[in-house]
Structure formats: structure tokens, C-alpha cells
Amino acid sequence: MSEEIRRMLPNLRSLLNLRRFAAVVFLLSFAGAAQAGWDTLNMPVGVTEVSRIVYDLHMLIFWICVAIGIIVFGAMFYSILMHRKSRGVTASTFHESTTVEVIWTVIPFIILVAMAVPATATLIKMEDSGESEMTIKITGYQWLWRYDYLDHDFGFYSFLATSREAIRDQAEKDENYLLEVDRPLVIPTGTKIRMLVTANDVIHAWWLPDLALKRDAVPGFINELWTLVETPGIYRGQCAELCGRDHGFMPIEVHAVPPDAYRAWVEEQTASATE
């Protein structure tokens, strides 16, 4: 081996040091992740049947990818470790095999079909908004939302409640910084709700991760969504389609309350609307 080539070979010791450093950084970032909690790492499981199915689908395909990754990268790293010139190996000369090409075309195809089946079933379920018990119209504006309860003839605008001072670092940021509104959307639990999504100026998108709902709000067109929330609670989301200067400042806050409380709230609203 010529001196020139020898110089071009990797300096193994420095390589190993760098790898160790990389490993430490990687582990540290995971330690940080563990401390921050699982919620900040993964998709929320959510509070509807659909959101749970979506979460399961997400995890299924994630683990399939992990398994494929382990096999492919495993083979690759084994090769990198064992089949290196510095170990004195001579290269083989094989360069084709129709058999293996067919195998690694067919097997991924089968895996894909296996993934497509549950995905298709879920999608068909998600797109079926039939038999809904009430309808809410959601309208996106630059930069706020409007909610209209079509069954009760009232509606209201929903603005960001975080103060300008908090955004400008002149006041303390609280837990729900940028995710709180002045008037949240109130919905009953245990009820299939149809939502009609549209916009008044530019395209927005209404996204509520806990309900696995996201749909573009397109001016001049009406899109449809449905949900059935099981657990009462406060759920928060944000506009997901770039809509101009304050795109980051038009959050979504939904209060899911038991049907009784919902009816009482509606009466209150209609009373104040007729005043």
C-alpha cells in the first residue's frame, strides 16, 4: 500500500473519539427528552375513538420503519465494520442477482399492502360524517376564528388571549402561552358533532391534535369534519396553514363539557344573544 493511500485512510482512533462524542450528545438529548416527558416527544393519543386509532396507526408504521431500519442499517454497519480494507479483506466481484432483487421488491410491497389495509379502513371511518347530532360552522379570519352554532342561531369570534407584553417578553409567560383564547369553542361530550370549515380571506387550517382533526379552511368552499369527544376537558390547537403575519397567533381552544352543562351553556348564550 502506497504512503499516499495510507494517509488517506481514516485515522481510526480519532474516528472513534468523534463517534463517542456523537453518542454522548445523542444520549444527552434523549435524557433531556425523558425529563421533558413523553408528551413533548410523540403524537397525543387524544380523547376520541378516531384519535386513538390514528395514534395506533402512527405507532404501527413507526415500529415497522424501526424494524426495517434495524435490518438495513444493521447489515450496513456490519459491512462497514467487517468489510474494510484495513482488515485486509479483498473485495468480491458479485454485482447482480435477480433473485434478491425480486425478493426485496416483493417483500416491501407486501409490507405496504399490510399497512394500507388498516389505513384505508380508518380513512373511510374518518370521512363518514353521517348521523351527526349537531353542526358547528368554523370560519377562519386573519387572524382569529369564528364559531357559529347553526342549530341555535348564535356564534362568536375567538381571539388570542395571550397579552402582547408576554409575547414581547415584558411579562411572565404562563402555561398556556399562545394557546389560550378569550372565548373558547364549547362542545358536548358523547355527541357526534359535524363541523363545517371555511374561511373569509385566505386559507387557514383548523387543527386540534387531541381530536386528530385537521382541515383546511378555504375561502369560498366548505369542508366537513366530525368528532365525538368522550372525555370532558380543555383541548388546545393552532392554525396550521400559513395565513400571513399573525399565523402563529390564532389558537384554538375547545372546552368539551357533559351534555347537561352544554345545554345550560347554550341557553345562556341564546339568552344573551336575544338581549
Binding site: L57, V72, D169, N223, Q238
Partner: protein
């Protein structure tokens, strides 16, 4: 060989202009390749500076440094600059340098067109960047230019559209040149199925460019007439449809994604066999896989718009078609691993970048497969998960492949070896920081952080800080790359003709650096 060298010497004598005028008037494929690559380098630092403005604002919650409108201009221009100003010109530069060398031609088939297609670009980008100083600021509606938002742009809009027209013209002319060269200029005996993979992938890329750049030009022209000539293509109130723009845009946009990655496949398929000292595994299946990916790229566009409110049948079709792309892409990755398998590998910088490419591109491919699953995509769509996905396929994907190519062929182009130790430093720093930047974005995206926002809720703070640190590290590591390239051009250990022990192909039969006109007599193909 000495004959070729002598020819080169003579050519040098009748070659007239020097200094700046040489570069303005040049019709030589090597000069034009160099110009393209330097343009890409300059735009890389400009686009990178924009990325650092974004990451500075996102370092911690709250608005500290820039106005949200300017922030949106930065995300918009960062994308346009990196796509049209860095990756595409860099690949065209590599094509200019390498295709004639690899197929045994003297030069590109259409040298004057070649000059023009390069010199359009500096004007296009000057115009694009000048919009930042116009009334109403730069374009801030995202590089996807969705109406109606994009129609709210101030004075900048016609200039942005005109500069996109320019870039499209340049790309189409470059693509015509690549096709003409590959079809007509191959040395005798260089059959299509003997061409290096880099030539094949570029041939297919060139067809994609010719097919889709006019579609983009049409789409942005409709934006122009909607804004200034009273048409209503995308205005629902006038009987139009804003979503139609998205269909037009992504019919361009998805093949564009493959325009940005296919030449990388060619680069990696050239580098791996060299440093594995073993022929590429499955050459013909690589060619067919590339062609399949290119074909499929025309029928998957709407997977960029699953949340737009498509009919169920449309969503299902685009989901299945998108998932299908995993098959030929998988074949490529498996073939690369099989190429390395039982080779005799060494790990010079180009090989390191090529291996880094395969691993991190595959990670981007995995998240791409996840994004294809429509029900899950409703959660991923327009979140930071998408940002993580496309940065994995573009930065440690396309950009790493370009860097691998530069390290691989720089000794051939300049006649000098680059400093190997510094090259390795560059690789490891880039790899560590690129992962530090983009891996945490998967987490915040899944946890619910939308993309293109200048400020975010507190639970996303930790990972955003990590990503910002990574971005600065990655940015500064690239200064090392610039330094290495400059040092290598100025001098260094002399390279042999073959440069690398395991290198195979016509370019390695020429001296390093090659003569001004590559093959004045056609080479003999084994």
C-alpha cells in the same frame, strides 16, 4: 495521454479572453460547471443566513428579534434560495463538469445555450433578493405561493414571479443541453446501459425538468393575471378555485422533489463502488428504479394537500400511489448496501458523505412513508414533523450528496488533493449538527407545533433551543467546507489521473486536471 495534454496546451494558446470576460463569454463546460457550483456556494451561505435568522427567532418563546412578517419572508426566501439557488444549480454544475467527462464527449452539445442558461441565474437571484427592500417587504406567503395569501404580497409579487420565470427558463435550457449531450455526444461503444448512473439519473431528471417547469411558470403567471389583470383563476368570488393553484403547484412540486434528489442517487452510486472496490450492485435495476420513481412522481402530487378537503377516492388513490414509491426507493437503498457488502472499503471524505447520505436519506424516507398514511397525515400535515422530513431528505440528502460529489471530483477538477483530515472534520461536524438541528423537529411536530410560526407554546421550548444550537453549528461547519475548497484550488498534494484506487470510468482516464476540451479524440470503451 501525452497527446491529449499537448492538445490542451495548444487550446490554451488560442483561447482568448481572460479575467472576468473569460467567465462572461465562456462556452466551455468546465468553466460553466465551475460558475454554477460557485453560484450554488454563494447562495448556500445566503440561504443559510436566512435559516439562522429563523433559528435565532425560534431559539426561545416570545418575539425577540424580527417582525413576524419578516420572519415569513425569511422562511419563503430560504426555501426558494435553497431549492432554486443551491441544489438545482449545484447539480447542473456537476452535470456540466461530469457528463462530458463521463460519456467521453469534448463538451456539452449546446455550448452557447449553456452560457445563457447560467448567466440568467445571477440576474434572477438578484431580482428575487432585491424584493426584500421593496415596499411591503419580500414575499411572505411561503415558497408554495398559495393564493389568496400570496396575492397580499406588496410590490414584490411581480418581481418574484418574473424571477421564477427566469429560473424556470434556465432550468429548461440546462435540461435540454443535458439531454442533447447524453443522446448525441456519447463516445462510440458507450451504450445507454453502459452509462454511469450519474448520467442516467441526470437524463431522467432533465426530462422531469422539461415536463414540470412550464407547469410552474403557468401557475405563477395565473397568479400574476389574478393580481394585475382582473382574472379569477384562484378567486372563489369570481368563479375560480384557490385549491386549483395547489394542484398546479404540486403537479410541478412533486417531480421537483425528485429533481432535487435523483442526481444525488447518481452521485452516491458513483462513489460507493469506488471506495468499496466493487462494482455497483444491480446496475440495471438501479436504472429501472430511477425511471419508476420519476414516473410515479407525476401521480402523487396531491399527497401534499391531504387536508385540503379531497374526496375519499382521491385520498385513497394518492395514498396508494405514494406508498408505492417506497418500493423503487427501497430497491435503491438495498442495492447500495449490497454494493458495500463484502467490498474492501476505505472511508475517505466522499465515502463518509455518501454513507451519511444513505442513512439519513433513509430516515427521511421512513418519515415520508409515515406521511403517506392519510389518517396519520392529518396529524403530521403542516407540522414540524414535515419540516423534519423534508430537511432530512434535502440537507443530509441532497446537500450531503453534493458535498460528497465535490470531495470526490475536486482532485480531478483541480489536480490537487483536498486536506483529508479537514474533510473528515467537516463531515463529522456536519453530521452531528444536522441531526441536532432536524431530529428534535420530529418531536415538536408530533407534539403539535405547526410549521412557519415565529413564536411557539412553552412545551416546544427545549427542542427548539436544541435545533437552534444545531443550526448554528451546522452553519459554521460549512465555513470549513468553503475553506477546504479554496485551499484545494490553490494547491495541495498532486492528484494522479485515477485519483482514487478503486475509481472506474472515463473521467479517471484523463489527466488531473483534465484538458480544457475533454476528449478531442473519442475514447475507447472497454
Amino acid at each position: 495521454m501525452s497527446e491529449i495534454a499537448a492538445d490542451a496546451h495548444d487550446d490554451h494558446h488560442d483561447y482568448h479572453p481572460s479575467g472576468l470576460w473569460r467567465w462572461v463569454t465562456t462556452t466551455n463546460h468546465k468553466d460553466i460547471g465551475t460558475l454554477y457550483l460557485w453560484l450554488a456556494m454563494i447562495m448556500f451561505f445566503i440561504g443559510g443566513a436566512m435559516a439562522l435568522v429563523i433559528r435565532t427567532e425560534l431559539f426561545s418563546p416570545g418575539l425577540q428579534f424580527v417582525d413576524p412578517q419578516f420572519f415569513n419572508s425569511m422562511t419563503t426566501l430560504h426555501a426558494l434560495v435553497m431549492i432554486f439557488g443551491v441544489v438545482m444549480p449545484a447539480f447542473t454544475g456537476l452535470a456540466n463538469w461530469q457528463i462530458p467527462l463521463m460519456v467521453g464527449a469534448t463538451d456539452m452539445a449546446l455550448p452557447r445555450l449553456n452560457n445563457w442558461s447560467f448567466w440568467i441565474l445571477p440576474f434572477a437571484f438578484t431580482m428575487l433578493l432585491s424584493t426584500l427592500f421593496m415596499d411591503g417587504g419580500g414575499p411572505a406567503g411561503g415558497w408554495t405561493l398559495y393564493p389568496p395569501l400570496t396575492l397580499q404580497t406588496g410590490d414584490a409579487l411581480p418581481f418574484v414571479i418574473f424571477s421564477i420565470h427566469f429560473m424556470g427558463m434556465s432550468s429548461i435550457m440546462g435540461a435540454i443541453n443535458v439531454i442533447a449531450t447524453i443522446i448525441n455526444m456519447r463516445a462510440p461503444g458507450m451504450h445507454m446501459m453502459k452509462m454511469p448512473l450519474f448520467v442516467w439519473t441526470w437524463l431522467i431528471t432533465a426530462f422531469l425538468l422539461i415536463a414540470v417547469m412550464p407547469v410552474l411558470a403557468g401557475g405563477v403567471t395565473m397568479l400574476l393575471t389574478d393580481k394585475f389583470f382582473g382574472t379569477s383563476f384562484f378567486n372563489a368570488a369570481g368563479g375560480g378555485d384557490p385549491v386549483m393553484f395547489q394542484h398546479i403547484f404540486w403537479f410541478f412540486g412533486h417531480p421537483e422533489v425528485y429533481i432535487l434528489i435523483l442526481p444525488s442517487f447518481g452521485v452516491v452510486s458513483s462513489i460507493l463502488p469506488t471506495f468499496s472496490r466493487k462494482p455497483l450492485f444491480g446496475y440495471s435495476s438501479m436504472v429501472y428504479a430511477t425511471a419508476s420513481i420519476a414516473f410515479l412522481s407525476f401521480v402523487v402530487w396531491a399527497h401534499h394537500m391531504f387536508t385540503v378537503g379531497m374526496p375519499l377516492a382521491g385520498e385513497l388513490f394518492f395514498m396508494f400511489a405514494t406508498m408505492l414509491i417506497a418500493v423503487p426507493t427501497g430497491v435503491k437503498v438495498f442495492n447500495w448496501v449490497a454494493t458495500m457488502w463484502r467490498g474492501s472499503m476505505t472511508f475517505e471524505t466522499p465515502m463518509l458523505f455518501a454513507i451519511g447520505f444513505i442513512i439519513m436519506f433513509t430516515i427521511g424516507g421512513f418519515s415520508g412513508l409515515m406521511l403517506a398514511i392519510v389518517p396519520a397525515d392529518f396529524q403530521y400535515h403542516d407540522s414540524y414533523f414535515v419540516v423534519a422530513h423534508f430537511h432530512y431528505v434535502l440537507v443530509p440528502g441532497s446537500i450531503f450528496a453534493i458535498m460528497a460529489a465535490v470531495y470526490y471530483w475536486l482532485p480531478k477538477w483541480t489536480g490537487n488533493h483536498y486536506p483529508e483530515r479537514l474533510g473528515k472534520w467537516h463531515f463529522w461536524l456536519s453530521t452531528i449538527f444536522v441531526n441536532l438541528t432536524f431530529f428534535p423537529m420530529h418531536f415538536v411536530g408530533l407534539a403539535g407545533m405547526p410549521r412557519r410560526i415565529p413564536d411557539y407554546a412553552l412545551q416546544f421550548a427545549d427542542y427548539n433551543m436544541l435545533a437552534s444550537v444545531g443550526a448554528f453549528g451546522f452553519g459554521f461547519a460549512q465555513l470549513l467546507f468553503l475553506y477546504i475548497v479554496l485551499v484545494t484550488i490553490r494547491g495541495g498534494e498532486k492528484a494522479t489521473d485515477r485519483v482514487w484506487e478503486g475509481a472506474e470510468g472515463l473521467e479517471w482516464t484523463l489527466p488531473s486536471p483534465p484538458p480544457y476540451h475533454s476528449f478531442t479524440t473519442p475514447p475507447v470503451i472497454r
